[in-house]
């Protein structure tokens, strides 16, 4: 995604467009992937918890 490309912000009640994130999974102590499409397929609830930066308070 380029800086000039605008992303429309998802509003309450809308279906969130599919996205993926690379992850670190502490349980497996390995890198992994989060996929919203997979959550929808598996019928799982998701809580996204954004925070400014590692090595700060959460």
């Amino acid at each position: 995604m380029t800086a000039t490309e605008t992303t429309r912000v998802v509003r309450l009640g809308e279906v969130v467009p599919d996205f993926e994130l690379e992850t670190y999974d502490p349980v497996r102590d390995d890198f992994g992937k989060f996929s919203l499409a997979e959550q929808k397929r598996k019928g799982r609830w998701t809580i996204l918890f954004f925070y400014p930066a590692d090595f700060t308070f959460v």
Binding site: T7, V10, F31, L36, W45, I47
Partner: protein, 131 residues
């Protein structure tokens, strides 16, 4: 608990790993730590701060169908109350099973008073909450 929690910052997965392993406060952390170094996902949820390149403290509950049901954002200097997040999640879970009911502000857990909107409830919320 019935939900997959994913924490997200604009750090990379490598930094997540290093932080998790060095910070003792994170010893019991079991949730996935998502990396959003381009801010693409943070922008999607309206929590990307273009001035700093960081994500604000945004919390979002997404249903199994992918619908965004709850959004809350704090500025940098205010931490979140996890009890309130759990209350909101439990309420959403309950209402997904009982779509005719709504959870008022004092609802905390299964068994607490809910309301069922109807013509009879109009002007009678006070009485309904105390019945």
């Amino acid at each position: 608990m019935g939900a997959d929690i994913v924490t997200v910052s604009t750090d990379t997965k490598f930094v997540h790993l290093a932080w998790k392993k060095s910070e003792k406060e994170l010893a019991n952390v079991r949730y996935q730590m998502g990396a959003d170094p381009t801010g693409k996902v943070a922008r999607m949820f309206g929590v990307y701060d273009e001035n700093t390149g960081l994500a604000l403290r945004g919390t979002f509950i997404i249903s199994p169908e992918g619908k965004l049901l709850n959004a809350e954002t704090n500025f940098y200097n205010l931490g979140r109350n996890i009890d309130e997040l759990m209350r909101k999640f439990k309420a959403n879970l309950y209402m997904s099973r009982k779509p005719n009911e709504v959870c008022p502000s004092k609802w905390r857990d299964e068994g607490d008073k809910t309301l069922t909107p109807s013509a009879q409830l109009v002007g009678k919320v006070h009485e309904a909450l105390r019945s």
